[in-house]
């Protein structure tokens, strides 16, 4: 019964989406306030209905209602409660419902917090949101219904893929989708602005907080996924340039570019059409990512052909959304008023450089991700594009941005003085050059890229702090003056400094893990020791143990450095009888400076076990850096000027500058 309520709620939300995408758009065209306000009501009601539907699905999973096909395929009554709940979105149908839930959540947030928005812009934005919701709910209802029943319920379910039974992965999809789908708001704002034919500073101020919120969610989501891959897949790596990872990384790169270009629109009224294009591209890449992951083309283009219904449906949505918005862009962009002029060396110039490099880097990642698909479709042979391609293209493209991101904030708008900016940063520059030299001479690592990476990390971390110090005149002025300047500095500036610091920390972690790790693979018997860098791993014991829904073989490693005991870690191989599947749990001891990482493979007491031991320098910094970046985003989001319900003085200005032209368009 409850499952049927969920299904009906979804159908009702579908009907509301149809209303929301049509009437308010017409109302905005005619200047009819009543029709425009309809969007607000439908957006809120739609969210309530999808929430009800989602609750019904979670309920089916929690109560192990095996008359629902989705529950049979993805759950089991022995599963711990957390994974019963996360099982609701650990499958194709349920994850789409989560997708739509977040989509309607954003719609409802625009409806309730967007009181200061001009009514036409709000109506049009919500109408575009309605169109996206309409497409995706239709997709669910017609091809992927999560509430499908079976006539004869089995005694128990088939269980959830054990790899997904993990706390990191339970929360990975909600964050990731918050980011993916949050970008839909920037997209809807961009399309609404194109329909209106008007982009100004106020528009940028409304778009930025949404993009920022989505960006934070996406960063945390990608970070969680990477963390999970690191400890669960047991390969000692954190990023594999796997197509599924790339599918989330490409929108992140575009969203990062969008965040920066929106600043230029807000402050200088320039780069308007470029910003609109980025907003369209960022969400288009989210849609493309959804298509790649959900249609099965990644495993094989032939898998796509065997279940064409779903793939063709999403492909159609993709063509309509991306094709439609880009066509609209092509028609409308030339008529946008060109904004303020600026010299190449200026704050705008720096932000533009960031944008161009991020976008081009995103395109090279996209190319590498899609290339095997192209060749496969053309029957030109089977290939795979692995990390070497991405490292060789993405790495060099990041170097200029990393170098420029410290200088940019020190340049003034319109026309900057690069020499004075560089002279402020002399200390950071000296340390960076020294770090590069030391790495090249002493580390014995091949290639110049790791050394440049070490230098860039030092440059960014020290440079970002120096930029803030310069701003508040630390040690150049009285303590009281510095304190006053500290208090007057807007939160968005702190947000930027923190986020940039996070990039530096993340970069240090990435370079440390990829270029300086020590790995050792061998056969070990109980009592045997192996030296990994300056540490010694001793296989102390291997025991069997019983988990809630698995049995495990647990290896206890004792790690020592010289004579002192560092830690004891447990590496497990788990067998899940219901799913007939095995998983690996790495044993990790983390210090601030490195991860000591142990994995156990097959073996026995007499023959010994295959073990894989790593020292991964600075790996924890990858997660710290990601968290610091997201905190930077949140601090910036808390800035008064960016608050979702924009401040009252700008509201007056905005409203007066946007009179409602009755019937005008």
């Amino acid at each position: 019964m409850i499952a049927e309520i969920g299904h009906f709620a979804l159908i009702a939300a579908f009907v509301l989406a149809a209303v929301q995408m049509s009437f308010p758009l017409y109302g905005a065209h005619r200047g009819d306030i009543g029709l425009m306000d309809l969007a607000k009501t439908t957006a809120l009601a739609q969210f309530a209905l999808v929430l009800l539907s989602f609750a019904a699905l979670v309920n089916a999973f929690v109560t192990s209602d095996f008359s629902v096909l989705n529950v049979i395929q993805n759950s089991h009554s022995d599963k711990p409660l957390l994974y019963k709940i996360s099982g609701a979105w650990g499958n194709h149908e349920g994850s789409l419902l989560l997708w739509v839930l977040i989509l309607t959540l954003f719609g409802a947030m625009v409806a309730s917090f967007g009181r200061n928005l001009p009514p036409q812009l709000r109506a049009r934005t919500l109408a575009i949101q309605g169109m996206i919701a309409f497409g995706f709910i239709a997709f669910m209802l017609f091809t992927s219904n999560p509430f499908e029943r079976v006539l004869v319920p089995p005694a128990n379910g088939q269980g959830l893929n054990p790899l997904l039974q993990d706390p990191g992965l339970a929360f990975h999809p909600p964050f990731l989708y918050f980011g993916y789908v949050g970008l839909s708001i920037s997209f809807s704002f961009a399309v609404a602005a194109l329909i209106e034919g008007k982009v100004d500073a106020a528009w940028a101020r409304w778009v930025r907080p949404w993009t920022l919120a989505a960006w934070c969610g996406l960063s945390v989501g990608i970070g969680l996924g990477s963390w999970w891959a690191y400890y669960e897949l047991g390969w000692g790596g954190f990023w594999f340039w796997d197509p599924v990872e790339n599918a989330s990384f490409i929108p992140w790169l575009f969203a990062t570019a969008l965040l920066h270009s929106a600043i230029v629109v807000e402050k200088r009224d320039a780069l308007k059409s470029w910003t609109i294009l980025l907003a369209i591209l960022a969400f288009s890449m989210s849609l493309l990512g959804t298509f790649l992951v959900r249609s099965g083309v990644l495993t094989s283009v032939h898998a796509f052909a065997t279940d064409p219904e779903r793939g063709v449906f999403i492909l159609l949505l993709l063509v309509i959304a991306i094709g439609g918005s880009l066509t609209l862009f092509a028609i409308r962009a030339p008529s946008l008023q060109p904004g303020g002029l600026f010299r190449p060396i200026s704050r705008e110039g720096g932000l533009l450089l960031n944008n161009l490099f991020l976008s081009v880097a995103a395109l090279t990642v996209l190319l590498g991700t899609l290339y095997p698909l192209f060749l496969d479709v053309l029957e030109a042979g089977k290939v795979s594009v692995g990390p070497p391609y991405f490292n060789a293209t993405f790495g060099p493209l990041m170097v200029p941005i990393l170098a420029a991101m410290v200088v940019g904030p020190l340049l003034s708008w319109k026309r900057g003085d690069i020499l004075s900016a560089l002279s402020t940063l002399w200390f950071a520059g000296t340390v960076a050059l020294a770090a590069i030299a030391i790495t090249l001479i002493y580390s014995g690592v091949d290639g110049i890229l790791p050394a440049i990476g070490v230098g860039a990390a030092a440059w960014i971390i020290i440079g970002s702090c120096m930029e803030l110090a310069e701003r508040v005149k630390l040690f150049q002025s009285s303590a009281a003056d510095t304190w006053r300047r500290l208090r007057q500095t807007p939160r968005s500036v702190y947000g930027m400094t923190i986020a940039h610091l996070g990039v530096g920390v993340l970069l240090a972690g990435v370079i440390g893990t990829t270029a300086f790790k020590t790995e050792s693979v061998q056969n070990m018997k109980i009592g045997q020791s192996v030296a990994v860098s300056n540490y010694t791993f001793t296989l102390d014991n291997v025991v069997s143990l019983q988990g809630p829904n698995y049995v495990a073989e647990r290896a206890v490693f004792v790690i020592t450095e010289g004579d002192s005991l560092i830690a004891s870690v447990n590496a497990e191989r788990r067998r899940y009888p219901v799913e007939q599947d095995m998983t690996t749990e790495a044993g990790i001891h983390t210090t601030w400076l490195a991860d000591l990482y142990a994995v156990i493979g097959e073996g026995s007491r007499s023959a010994g076990w295959t073990t894989r031991l790593y020292k991964n320098p600075l790996t924890p910094w990858i997660w710290f850096g990601t968290i610091i970046m997201a905190i930077g985003g949140l601090v910036s989001l808390s800035d008064r000027r960016l608050r979702i319900g924009a401040p009252s003085n700008s509201r007056k200005k905005a409203v007066s500058s946007r009179p409602i032209p009755a019937g005008a368009q």
Binding site: S300, A303, L341, V385, A392, T584, A607
Partner: protein, 157 residues
């Protein structure tokens, strides 16, 4: 107005230089780093380059998995029904590595005809058959339809 033109000029040149540079980078990276898929039959016919990073796929031949005592080295044969290749791998095999199961190995062909794998991939699903392997088996006429299109469930990574 002249300055607007000038701004457009340097903007466009910057974009062109950047795109050109990125394209050059991508093309070189593709040339050097693309990993081709070869079946055991391809290798028997001498179609695969020696020493270059390639992927091979097939079924793990029953009874062929050998572990060297006191070492982490493992050897096994991969077959597509037509031909088979001896694979040597040093490390932990994926959790779902079994005999008679389809796997993909990435590594380099040695001059003695054996394949030194740096990575062995088997998907985390019992019924899953790597698509490249399925195709190779089909080509050599070794294919059973029933274990084909299963296993689309739970492709997370």
């Amino acid at each position: 107005m002249r300055s607007r033109k000038r701004q457009r000029l340097w903007l466009v040149s910057l974009v062109v230089i950047l795109l050109g540079g990125a394209a050059a980078l991508a093309v070189t990276a593709f040339e050097e780093n693309i990993v081709f898929f070869r079946s055991p039959s391809d290798i028997a016919e001498g179609k695969a380059e020696i020493g270059r990073l390639i992927r091979i796929g097939g079924l793990v031949e029953e009874g062929s998995v050998k572990r060297t005592a006191g070492s982490s080295e493992i050897s096994f044969s991969l077959t597509d029904g037509g031909a088979s290749v001896a694979v040597i791998y040093n490390g932990i095999l994926p959790d779902l590595f079994r005999e008679a199961q389809g796997v993909v190995a990435q590594g380099r062909l040695q001059t003695d005809g054996s394949f030194l794998a740096v990575e062995v991939l088997a998907k985390h699903d019992e019924s899953y058959m790597p698509p490249e392997v399925a195709e190779a088996l089909k080509k050599s006429g070794y294919w059973q339809e029933n274990n084909a299109e299963e296993g689309m469930k739970g492709h997370t990574k």
